[in-house]
């Protein structure tokens, strides 16, 4: 059997809050498990504040976890120190949200794309040749090596980010909103650049995005996060075709389509996302769920780990419509 590149088990991340005698903590990630295999793309979706970025940072060791375990290449990596983490990061790279902000403004593009070699050792590689190789890999002319980040467009900066992430031929790339703020054609270019090493070298990816159209095309599996937990996870095609959790159904129906004639059949969610400081009782989605029942307010749905995972008492039938939609909207 294919050994997973990444195995995340029951991971929780807590943050201390309060002060002046009101000490407490909130769970940013509240118990999450998943695996990513070689050549597989795993997407994390959910509203801002749902814990996607915290989870990504925890995997990369930028954020310590309070319980659970993270295995990478069959090696336990949670709790490793900075020095122990260094060889791991060589095989696991991270792309951060802000394309320009994640590049040092005082380094040239050439320095930026070869920085991974300088950090992890060059192995006798010719850095100039590597610069040329990486720039051509991401479709930038070699002359760009002498440019500075402020001279790049958002799309070009993103490509430099991709070159940095792929420089050391990693086994896993964690991409936090790799296409946010990009135009559709540039977005396609960036995703295609990441797809190429996936096909060629079996690169595994964790992609965080709120663009569901992108998830539909590039992800093999998808997990939907709400308040730091997975409410639904499964094969992308299956989740998109038949969402079982009401939150997933609402998220999918809220996806604006570039077709002015398309009738919008939305499941609207009332109220705001609850605060992590006072998590709702029972099913944590019950405050906004159009299908809510008495049981949901008191009893948390069990988290079973079937192939298609849904944390809901009454998973939706195909094409289900909320019972009270007309009255509430």
């Amino acid at each position: 059997m294919n050994e997973p590149v990444l195995r995340v088990q029951d991971v929780q991340v807590s943050f201390p809050v309060g002060g002046f005698g009101r000490r407490g903590s909130i769970l940013g990630v509240a118990g999450v498990s998943f695996e990513v295999n070689r050549g597989e793309t795993f997407a994390l979706v959910g509203e801002s504040g749902s814990g996607k970025t915290t989870l990504a940072r925890a995997i990369n060791g930028l954020q310590s976890i309070s319980t659970g375990s993270i295995e990478f290449d069959a090696q336990r990596i949670d709790g490793l120190g900075k020095r122990e983490m260094q060889p791991i990061r060589r095989r696991m790279s991270m792309m951060f949200q802000d394309p320009v902000g994640s590049l040092s403004p005082r380094m040239t593009v050439g320095d930026l794309v070869t920085e991974p070699f300088r950090i992890h050792g060059t192995d006798g590689k010719n850095l100039e040749a590597e610069t040329a190789r990486l720039l051509s890999l991401v479709g930038l002319p070699t002359s760009f090596a002498s440019r500075f980040p402020h001279q790049l467009s958002g799309g070009q900066a993103r490509r430099v980010g991709v070159a940095r992430a792929l420089a050391l031929d990693p086994a896993l790339v964690i991409a936090d909103e790799p296409t946010a703020g990009l135009d559709v054609s540039v977005q396609g270019e960036v995703l295609n650049l990441l797809n190429e090493p996936r096909e060629r070298l079996g690169l595994a990816m964790v992609i965080i995005t709120h663009n569901l159209h992108v998830v539909h095309h590039v992800a093999d599996r998808v997990a939907v996060m709400y308040l730091g937990r997975f409410v639904e996870a499964g094969d992308t095609a299956d989740v998109f075709e038949r969402p079982r959790h009401p939150y997933t159904a609402a998220l999918l129906s809220a996806n604006p389509e570039p077709d002015p004639d398309k009738a919008q059949d939305r499941i609207s969610l009332p109220a705001e996302v609850p605060s992590l400081l006072s998590r709702p009782s029972g099913c944590e989605f019950h405050t906004r769920c159009p299908w809510v029942q008495a049981r949901c307010r008191t009893e948390a749905p069990s988290a079973n780990l079937a192939v298609h995972f849904t944390a809901c008492h009454t998973p939706l039938a195909p094409g289900a419509r909320p019972p009270m939609q007309e009255a509430t909207s």
């Binding site: 959910g46 801002s48 559709v184 977005q187 396609g188 663009n211 604006p256 570039p258 002015p260």
Partner: protein, 328 residues
């Protein structure tokens, strides 16, 4: 009457490497109570256009020619900076991508909402009532309590709604919304655009809505202006442009949207090539270097060809049978 009529606008920037033609012959109208969307890749001049309208171009930029007529009377290009300042806020207001940048983090929301009514002769109690009313309109729960809270105590979606409430407080004639939903997630994005449309109907203002999210444009806007490299390449109603794109750039842009790809595909479509250097504009069609239908006629400057009822495209093939069709 038009809320805004932009005619033959040309904007240049002086840079170290020579003059840069940022906006070239930009013309379009925003009708009364219309929502007009602008789409285009980054670097196509969307922000320059907003700054030109607001009279906030950087020091090295200048409007070389053209006019921006506001409510058929004031030409914003020729207006004194003092007169412009009187229009900005009460008559023309803006919402930007980052709501945190629009709100002062150390002043309570209520005080900020009262402060921005400083031109109004109303009493403080009336201004407070108006602030509560606006917060109610943008569906902030417990609006009275919300006045005493600070921006960080609200979620991202709520902050953007508060920013919208503040922009619409003085009932402007024109709201300029620059990527107001880009930083929001799908569900919040939809709530925000639905809210924008409701408020626009209530207040009766016009909206200039900038976004690169084609789905949002299709859903919210009445008209759409497609920009490429500082030029308007196509404009028309949303239906005209989305259902029958006549400029090859528009057609390619729509094809690139993963939402339009019904079949799952690993390799997404793209437009090969880069936006030209605006210091060295091609003499002919600005899209020609990247265009699949390029032919000898494209070496000549292109003019906007009128198609049907307000639908125009700056392409010499626009009027032909099916310009969007890529030749085999």
């Amino acid at each position: 009457m038009h809320t805004l009529a932009i005619n033959g606008l040309n904007v240049w920037f002086s840079t170290e490497d020579g003059p840069l033609h940022a906006l070239k012959d930009v013309s379009f109208d925003i009708g009364q109570k219309r929502i007009v969307g602008i789409v285009g890749e980054s670097g196509c001049g969307k922000s320059t256009l907003i700054n030109a309208i607001l009279g906030l171009l950087a020091d090295n930029g200048r409007i070389e020619s053209g006019s921006i007529l506001f409510e058929d009377t004031d030409d914003l290009v020729r207006l004194s900076s003092r007169a412009l300042r009187d229009l900005r806020g009460p008559r023309i207001s803006t919402v930007f991508q980052d709501p945190m940048g629009a709100l002062n983090p150390v002043i309570s929301v209520g005080r900020q909402m009262i402060n921005i009514q400083y031109r109004s002769p109303k009493s403080k109690a009336e201004k407070t009532a108006r602030a509560v009313e606006m917060l109610k309109l943008v569906r902030i729960p417990d609006p009275e309590d919300a006045l005493d809270r600070y921006p960080h105590q609200f979620s991202g979606g709520m902050k953007q709604r508060i920013a919208i409430a503040m922009a619409l407080m003085m009932e402007p004639a024109l709201l300029i919304a620059d990527e107001p939903t880009t930083a929001l997630d799908a569900t919040l994005e939809v709530t925000t655009i639905e809210l924008l449309r409701d408020l626009q109907t209530q207040i009766g203002c016009s909206v200039l809505f900038i976004s690169h999210h084609l789905g949002v444009i299709a859903e919210l806007c009445d008209d759409v202006v497609v920009m490429y490299a500082g030029e308007v390449v196509e404009k028309g109603t949303v239906r005209q442009v989305f259902n029958d794109p006549r400029h090859p750039y528009t057609a390619r842009l729509l094809e690139c949207d993963p939402a339009r790809q019904k079949e799952r595909t690993r390799t997404l479509p793209t437009i090969p090539g880069e936006i030209p250097d605006l210091r060295r504009r091609p003499r002919g069609c600005v899209f020609a270097p990247r265009c699949a239908q390029r032919h000898t006629g494209c070496d000549q400057p292109q003019s906007a060809i009128a198609l049907s009822d307000g639908h125009t495209a700056r392409c010499n093939l626009a009027a032909s049978e099916d310009p969007a069709e890529t030749p085999a």
